[in-house]
Structure formats: C-alpha cells, structure tokens
Amino acid sequence: MVHDNHADPATPEAVGPEPAAWTNWSASEREQFFDAIARHRRNAWRVTLPCALASLLLALILAILLAPLLYGLLGLAVDVINLALPMPDLLGHLGSMVGVMVDSLDSDRLAPAGAWLRLALVAAVPGAVLMAAIVFALRRALMHSPLFHPLKAPGRPALPSDLNEQRFANTVAEMAAAAMVPAPRVTFVDGGANASAFGPDESHATVMAGTGLLPNLNRQQMQGIAAHLIASVADGDMKIGMRTAMTLGLFTLPAVVSTGWADRAGFAATVRLLHAILLPTPARLDRILQALDDPFRDRGSERDATKTSQGDRLTWRQWAMMPLVGPVVISGFLGGLVSTMMLAPAVALAWRHRKFMADANAVALTRDPDALVGALAAISAAGANTRLAAWAGHLCVVNPGTRHDASLLGGSYVSVFPPLQRRIRALVRIGADPQRFTSNASGGKSWLLKVLSAVLFTVIGSLMAVVVVLLIWISLALSGLFTLLPVALLHALLR
C-alpha cells in the first residue's frame, strides 16, 4: 500500500515511497472525516435550499411584474390580427378578470385567497416562458464558455520530458481511481500556483494547473491538490456551479437590460444582448457572458459623453420607453439588486461549505490529512501568485485573488473561498499535523466579528425587505399608468 507520502520536497527527483509501515486508520479517525464530509454537506444544503426557494420566489415576482407588458403586447397583437381574422378578445377577458379582483379590494368581501393565487399564476405564465427562454440562452452561453466546452479550454497536456508534470497528471489519475470517477484530462497553463477542475460533467472533466504550482510541491502535496479537485468533480461542483451561475444570471441579465434603455449606446448594447438571447451564435454568446460579469458595473463614463443636456424636456426615446419603466426597468433593477445584495453572498457562503467539503473529501480519498494541508501551506508560504483563468475562479483550489474571483458566481462582496487558515484548521480537526496551523487570531475577535456581521446582515436584510416591497409597488403603479393605460387606449381603438 504505497501512498508515497514522504518524498522529500528538497529533492524533487525523489519519486520513491518510503518503505515505512503503512498503518491502518483507526475506526474513530475514519469516522471523523466521513462525519466531517456529512457535516459540510448538511451545512451547504442548509444555505442552498433557502437560496433556491428565494430564487423561485423572486422569479415568480419578476414574472408577475412583467405581466402587464407581456399581456399588453400579446393582447394588442391579438387585436391587430382580429382586424383581418376574428379572434377572441384576450384583453377584454383579462381586464374583466382583474377588474373583479380589484373591485373586491374596495368592497367588504375580499376575494378568496385561491382566486388571488389563480390570478397570480395566470399573470406569471408569459413572464415564466420568457425567463425559461433566458435560462436556455444562458445555459447555451455557459456551455459555450471555456468552463464547459472541452475544446475551448486553454492549456497543453503534460510534457513527456517534464517528470514533474507527468507526476501531477499521475496523481490526478490516482485520485480518480480513489473516487471511482473516470480520470480527467490534465492540462497546464501559464499561471500562478493554483489549479482548478471544470467541465460539463464528471466524465468530461478537465483539471487545469498553473505552471507555478508544481515547483512548490512534492508528490504527496500534489496528491492533496489532486484529491481536492477530484473530490470537487465527484461531488458535482461543476453542475452546481453552472446551475448557480444560471440562476444568478437570470436576475443579472434583466438588470443589464434595465440599465441600458436611456441612451443610444446602452440601447444598442441592450438590443444586441436581446438578440444574443433569442438567436444565439457563438460570438453573441460571449456577449452574454460579458454582460453577466457585473450587472451594475459603471458603464456611465461612456454614457455621460453621449448624453447631451436637453433641459427638462424628455427625448422621444425616453417617451417611447415609458411603458417599459414599470415592468422592465424597475423589476430588472429589483432582480439585480436582490441577486447582488442577497443571493450572491448567500451562494458564496454555500460555496464555502462546498470547499470545506471538498477538503474533507480529499482527506477521505488520500487518507492523509497532511497531504492537502502541506500543499495549502506550501502555496501560501511561497507567497506565489495564484492567478489562474478568471472564468474558472470558483473552481480553483485556493483563492485566485482577483476581485472578480468568482465572476460567474456573481462577484459578490463575500468571497467564495474560506480563509486559508480556517481551511487548515478544519483539516487539523480531521487529523492533519497541527504544526501546520499557525494562526494567532484570537477567539474573541472572531466572536465580535460574528456579532457585528450578524447585526449588519439583519440591518441590510430589513432594509432590503422594505426596498423590495417599495419597488414592487412602484413597478405596479408605473405599469398601471404607463403600460396598461396606453394598452387600454389602443385596445379601445382597435376593438
């Protein structure tokens, strides 16, 4: 039973395993890391499930807010066709349906909850269809990104002449054998001391390592890194990451659309984006990915240049977009706000638990807690640049250190990586050498930090709740005034 744990880091050519006695793990130690995996998994799902529910609720609200515009357009289209071909009066039907409900608000007898629910569901249908289209476009765009498209991933295979690179590729294959997943492709790119695993699913995974990684590690530590990556592959992090990116993107794209109506440049960009969503080609899909980067990134600088002062008079463009303000602009802003301020940080927290879980799983695969701890310590001690391809940020072993360290996961103000010292502490708990753990952070400070952040989150949360309700009412009011009124006028003219 060779795990080749004791190769000397000072002499990289020492390939050989120590013929030292291989000791079985005692039952209690085994139990511990299986327990740790289960605990981290529970923690991750505890955050992920509320996130999923909140996303569903937000999507439903946005779909309902879009209803006046979409039903208006649909109804007017039916009216126009009606001029040539007799069609049912969709708008009249819907109007009477809403009218009954609104009347019941004034009278003493409120309509039953079931009727309101039915109205909400009917209202949400076209918005839901539109969102499904956006999700499919996003999925196609993501599948086309280097993250999921095997041919687009950069990098070269291990050089036959470089024993170290071959050794890393071998340790990845070893860990794949330990996790019973197919051995992933291993590529190397010019980059810092970091590695990531990505791909559409576990049988088409690619492990990418920066060339800065290997000089810092011995074989045992390479095995630890490989084990973390394979654990992440075997746990389906890639799929979960894609779903998360799709969910966040679903709320980010409308925000991008909502900020880009007011002027010519923004309008053109928005039209291109909508074009890309509806009729995707590879080049257009890249545009979606760029738009996902940051919904509220300051695009104002270029906009200010084109904006000419016209006093208080509204331009024709602003008049033309009035019907869109309520359903698209305000609700897009709402979606973007909630996803950036609340969903993305929560997702980052869940992702941290998944990192801990991959660490614990790596120990389960190598049965050697020192392997990963040694590698993490070596990378942080070397102070090496850990930058790797930005699109693979959330799947890296250690924080790549760029601000957009997880551009696909929202780039929120909460990092998707737990602090290295906490990861090392978690590994020490499941049996790693405590010598590695060098943190001198006092317990009191972290306690204070926890209380402060809890207070901060409560304040932000309650503020957000108020803002969300306000935005919903503003959106409904503006929709009523600027969307439904013109639609009703046109409807009256056409019928």
Binding site: V2, H3, G16, W22, N170, A173, A364, R367
Partner: protein
C-alpha cells in the same frame, strides 16, 4: 371510502419507499462491482509494465538473472490468480489467492528495486526514471482502487444491514460483499521501494 383512500395512500408511500431502498442497494452493489473492475484494470496495467521494467533493467543487471526471473514468474502467477479472483466479489478463496499472488509480485519487485539501488547507471537511466514513476503511480492507483473498493463494500454492507433493508434484502438476492484483506503478512506488506 375515506379509510380505503388512506390505506391506498399508505400503501403507495410504502411502495415508493421500498423502491427507493431497493434502487439504492442496486446502485451500491454496482459500485462494488465497479470497484472490483477498477482494481482489475490497475492490476493489468501493473502486469503490462513489468516486461518493460525487466527489459530496461536486464542490460544493467546481467548478473542478477535470478531476481529478474523471479519477477517474471511472480508476474505470471499473479496474472493467473487475477483472472480467477476478479470474477466475483463474493468468492473469498479466489480473492485471497489473488491478494497473495499480488503480494508476492510486490515482494519480488521490491527486491528488484533494492538491487537497482546498487547500480548508479541504471538509476540515472531516463527510461528507468520514467518507468519508476509509472510503477509508483500504478502501485498507488492499485492501493487507491482497493481503498475505493473497500469503502464501496462498507457502504453497501451498511445499507444491506440497516433496518428496513435487512428484512427483505436477502430475499431479493443481495449478498454481503467481502472486503479485500489488507496485505498483512510481513512479506506481502513490503512495497517496491522505488528510490532514485
């Protein structure tokens, strides 16, 4: 009327529950079988590497024919035992025979690499360095595949003996799987020391 609906719902829930347990057992059993197949793959790979190793070493170790021949014959024995042993995870004697033949192969490989220590030319040979990394990784894959197999067996057996499953799993033809014994005798436990 109401009570019959309740009974039907309860039966339905029970049926779905039993189905879930059954499917889980099947999945775990397949994982055990897959684990065994993976070990087989790694053993074959190990057996394939040995002729290369012997060829590379032969030029340098002309005076150590005995050791080289011991490796070759241990490989042949391990190959034969492997064919019998990897057919069924439940066949304990065949599995034990395979483990002992592989252990003997490890021992003879260990002797070969210990000998190679004394030949600096052989140690510095580029081909030999590549081969030793190959053999190291194959040995590691083998032990990790064994570990994965044993974990799969543990999960399968735990599921099999847990409460609801234990009542009907036997009737449905699920048998306990056997873990691979650790290579526990002193000779077998020695690993080829690939030191360069």
């Amino acid at each position: 009327m109401d009570s019959s609906i309740t009974v039907a719902i309860a039966l339905g829930v029970f049926f779905v529950w039993a189905l879930v347990i059954y499917n889980r057992l099947v999945a775990l059993r397949n994982r055990v079988a897959n684990g065994l197949a993976q070990i087989d793959v790694q053993l074959k790979r190990r057996h394939d590497l040995i002729p290369n190793l012997v060829e590379t070493a032969r030029g340098y170790l002309s005076h150590e024919r005995q050791t080289l021949e011991a490796v070759v014959s241990a490989r042949a024995a391990a190959q034969a035992a492997g064919q019998a042993g990897t057919r069924d995870a439940g066949d304990e004697p065949a599995m034990a025979a395979m483990a002992s033949a592989e252990g003997a192969l490890s021992t003879s490989l260990g002797r070969l690499f210990a000998l190679a220590e004394a030949y600096p030319d052989l140690k510095a040979n580029q081909n030999m360095m590549q081969l030793s990394e190959e053999i190291t990784t194959t040995e590691n894959k083998l032990s990790f595949a064994r570990q994965a197999f044993n974990d799969a067996v543990m999960h399968f057996n735990t599921a099999l003996e847990s409460f609801p499953a234990v009542m009907f799993a036997g009737a449905l033809g699920f048998k306990r799987a056997v873990m691979l014994a650790p290579l526990d005798s002193d000779i077998e436990r020695k690993v080829p020391a690939v030191r360069f």
